[in-house]
Amino acid sequence: MTDAATTVDLLVLLATGALGAALGGLARLPMWPITGALVGSAVGNVLLGTSVTMPGGLSFFAQVLVGTAVGASVLPGFLGQLRTLILPAVAVTLTLVAAGLSAAALMSAFGLVGPRESLLGMIPGGVGEMVAASAALGADSALVAGMHVIRLLVTLWTLPLLVRWAMGWRPGPRKADSADGS
């Protein structure tokens, strides 16, 4: 395949991915930039019969954009706020990460999913960050994205039930800077 044809195929995939993301945004898909683009480019790939190897620089570029956005979200007041919330934050993080790691270890041990995909797919970090890491590792990023989308969908669908259940609880003495939003 000539360089020009490869470039055209690459542009077609990016265009169908962007179209898919736009449609995903309109349909309010969870994590629509990733899920919409994934479906869009997969459809483009099948319909147009393209067979293009993505340039490695593209993955690097995308990882830097996502990583920069994470770093930029750490605003000046973050550490001050975290100081009053450090115990809850550590408890939440350790529990969820341990649960994700345990589930990944079990799924990998039973041969359902490879170790790379199960770990990156089950650790509840950001979806973009985990998909970026899987792209960097050469793991099946589509599978990792799919596993995270399942987690997001189940969480979103169940959240109203959890909130309704929790609303009956009576708050204890206030230790964290939380009640008034100050």
Partner: protein
């Protein structure tokens, strides 16, 4: 003239902010990638942009000391990144994933559907236990506690939490802490372990 000048200056400032953060992100990514750190582009860009943000704030603070008032110098604003930057990165990652999507991936996903759902249900039960702890021991209101402990994405949960009236800074601080710990601590350990396998 003045009315027109302000938006133009704001636009320039937004572009300058984005350039500062992206320069830091690319520099950090380049350094860690050259050092062959696994997922160095992602981890390096997080650290690089955090460093660039700090440096920009320090620079602005130094510039503003000359404008000190009786109430003290105004706090320097942190540089912000326009939302579309993250979206563009995520769309490219989605395209990269979609290009690899094949029947084998779909079959694996289908076979792992039940275990993944069961794992998420287990996480949600843990969310309830964590929320109970936050309510009983930390005095956080139930809605904020559930939103803070849920294993969802920051962006989606933030919208839901805001709509329902949760205390946003608590929800955001806990979720951002989780993502930072996963990317900067857990991910390097996992990648190191995977390489050793």
């Amino acid at each position: 003239m003045r009315r027109r000048a302000k938006p133009a200056r704001d636009g320039r400032s937004a572009v300058a902010d984005a350039l500062v953060l992206l320069s830091g992100g690319f520099a950090g990514a380049a350094v860690l990638s050259l050092l062959h750190v696994p997922a160095g582009a992602l981890i390096g860009s997080v650290l690089g942009s955090m460093g660039a943000s700090k440096a920009a704030q320090a620079f602005r603070r130094r510039r503003r000391t000359g404008r000190r008032t009786a109430a003290g110098p105004p706090a320097p604003a942190a540089p912000t990144l326009p939302g579309p930057v993250r979206v563009v990165g995520q769309v490219i990652l989605g395209v990269l994933a979609g290009e690899r999507l094949n029947t084998e991936t779909l079959t694996t996903l289908l076979h792992s559907l039940v275990p993944v759902v069961l794992s998420v249900v287990l996480m949600l039960l843990l969310t309830l236990a964590l929320a109970r702890y936050l309510v009983a021991r930390r005095g956080i209101d139930p809605l904020t506690a559930v939103m803070s402990a849920a294993p969802g994405g920051i962006s989606v949960l933030a919208i839901t939490a805001q709509r329902q009236g949760a205390v946003m800074h608590v929800v955001l601080a806990i979720h951002l802490f989780r993502v930072l710990v996963v990317v900067l601590v857990v991910l390097p350990l996992v990648l190191h372990w995977l390489r050793a396998q």
